[in-house]
Amino acid sequence: MTGAITIHAKALTKRFGAFTAVDAIDLDVHAGEIFGFLGANGAGKTTAMKMLIGLLMPTAGEARVAGYDVYTQSEAIKRSIGYMGQRFSLYNDLTVLENIQFYGGVYGVPPAELKRRTDSLVHDLGLKEHVNTRLQSLPLGWKQKLAFSVAMIHEPKIIFLDEPTGGVDLITRRQFWELIYAASAKGVTVFVTTHYMDEAEYCHRASIMVDGVMAACDTPAALKEQFKVKTMDEVFYQLARSAQRAE
């Protein structure tokens, strides 16, 4: 990867009282890169991500996202990034169209442009007949794909995905990753956490957090060679079984 660095962290740390959730992690992610952020439950993935997107104030260390400082320029960061959290982030009591219009409006996408993007989004996801359907009556797989597209409605340079494919079926996960590849091809940095090790294989680079520390970070091929195993599953297992702290 040779693109410009879009996410940079140095010794980024978060402590809750005596408990160090994230312990001095370093990372550099480049434009257009799909960066896998792996780790067992409670390893500190979500905490680290929340510091990067401005939901959590770091305790120490430095971090820049899209060139902006996480301590002082979190509002500028928010305009440059998209985020899809672990919990479903759209409104079930609103229709597909209303959800798109709401988030598009909140991110300040001009109305004419929003209409154009809405049309192409609805077309790409095959939701044309369902634009006026309330989300509560759509299957989870569709909702997750819609949530991703809505998180991209303002065409951010970086997208943060926190376990985006949790609970969805294999085919939908495949389709979801096609959306991720399409975004990456357009130069969008994708920062994704996941529990599925087959998904880790799709990433350009993957990092594995153990007990708040970044235990490994490289391309999947290099990681497998380093640990002399055939799959990312085994890489993960070797690292994660040394973990001391449970969830």
């Binding site: 939901l55 982030s89 209303e98």
Partner: protein, 371 residues
């Protein structure tokens, strides 16, 4: 500005789409108004009076008959003496017991005075004192008649001091005139505080608050987007309640309606701000509901709506100085019944505006997008 409009559109879509909440917001408060006006009626009617008449004379029968003629009393007689009467009072079979002793007529004729004994159920002190008041009036009237009959009208002594009461601003002492304006306050308060606090916590529960916090929405935009819908709905309810009050209970509207709404507009920011504050310290709708109830019960019971603030102990009166509801109850009554102008209620305005600034500043400072 567009961000606020986008937020408002979303809130209104959600409010009007929630089929469970709609009737609670719009129908329940107005139904409460119609029902509670009667529940909170302090007028004393249909008092069950048991008369134990040991004299059985013309005068004693005339006295009982005078009670019966009043629309406030239902008179029944007991022939079994005082003890049976007390048993009836103990058993709750009667509200009051009037004992007329033997020689009542004789004493009245000879001495010009005769003792009577009135036993009252004092469990509800306010009720008992009103019954006593009405009984005294009836007995005093009858006394004049008896003396007239016996000695001729020329000999009736004039009382040295005669008080003729005149109840200004509520000439007929109509309790509905007092209750309807007060209940209007309760309606808008409930909607304002309850719904605004529940609404934000709901987004915490379903998790969408995280998406909002990660979006470039400024604090004031978010808060405005959350509070304005309930501000509009509360003002609408106030208008609807006023119309109902006028049409059904014919409450007087002596003062300026725009002045009332101006005060309500400022007042609502206090209650909405409190709702917002509660939502910032709560994680679940149960928590916020419990906290809202805690404040609302104190605010409403200490508001002077049901019991006059002047009758409260001093320390409780001090608490009411910090009770926004008591200011609004006062203002609604002053403006509607007394026709007070802005200058009359300028003090109330200043106080409520200060509350609005303080509460909202506290709530905004306490609301953090970043943990």
């Amino acid at each position: 500005m567009r961000t606020v409009l986008v937020l408002l559109r979303k809130e209104f879509l959600q409010i009007f789409r929630n089929k469970a909440m709609l009737p609670i917001i719009f129908v329940a408060p107005l139904a409460q108004l119609l029902i509670l006006v009667h529940a909170a009626d302090f007028e004393v009617r249909n008092v069950r009076l048991l008369v134990s008449d040991m004299d059985r004379s013309t005068a004693s029968r005339a006295l009982a008959e005078r009670f019966n003629a009043s629309d406030r009393f239902h008179v029944s007689f007991t022939a079994q003496g005082f003890d049976a009467g007390m048993h009836a009072l103990d058993a709750g079979a009667t509200d009051a017991l009037l004992r007329i002793p033997v020689h009542f007529e004789q004493d009245l004729g000879r001495k010009g005075s005769a003792p009577l004994m009135l036993d009252l159920n004092g469990v509800d002190g306010q009720y008992a004192s009103l019954v006593l008041l009405y009984s005294r009036q009836i007995i005093a009237n009858e006394q004049v008649h008896v003396i007239q009959r016996m000695h001729g009208s020329a000999n009736v002594p004039r009382p040295p001091v005669e008080v003729i009461p005149r109840y200004w601003y509520n000439l007929r002492m109509n309790y509905k005139n007092l209750m309807v304006p007060g209940l209007l306050v309760v309606l808008v308060t409930l909607v304002g505080m309850f719904l605004s606090s529940m609404n934000i916590v709901r987004e915490k529960e379903i998790g969408t608050i995280e998406q909002i916090n990660v979006a470039p929405i400024k604090k004031w935009q978010f808060i405005l987007g959350k509070l304005l819908p309930f501000w509009f709905i509360s003002l609408f309810l106030l208008a609807a309640g006023l119309v109902l009050g006028k049409l059904i209970f014919d409450i007087p509207i002596e003062g300026s309606v725009p002045l009332l709404f101006a005060f309500a507009a400022v007042y609502l920011w206090v209650m909405l701000g409190l709702g917002l504050f509660i939502s910032t310290v709560s994680d679940t709708q149960q928590q916020s509901m419990f906290l809202s109830w805690f404040f609302l019960v104190i605010f409403i019971l200490l508001s002077g709506l049901f019991t006059p603030i002047d009758n409260m102990p001093h320390w409780a009166q001090v608490i009411t100085w910090f009770n926004p509801v008591s200011y609004f109850v006062d203002v609604v009554r002053l403006v509607l019944l007394k026709g007070s102008s802005f200058t009359d209620i300028a003090g109330h305005f200043a106080a409520i505006a200060a509350f609005a600034v303080a509460v909202n500043a506290g709530a905004v400072l306490n609301y953090r997008k970043r943990a």
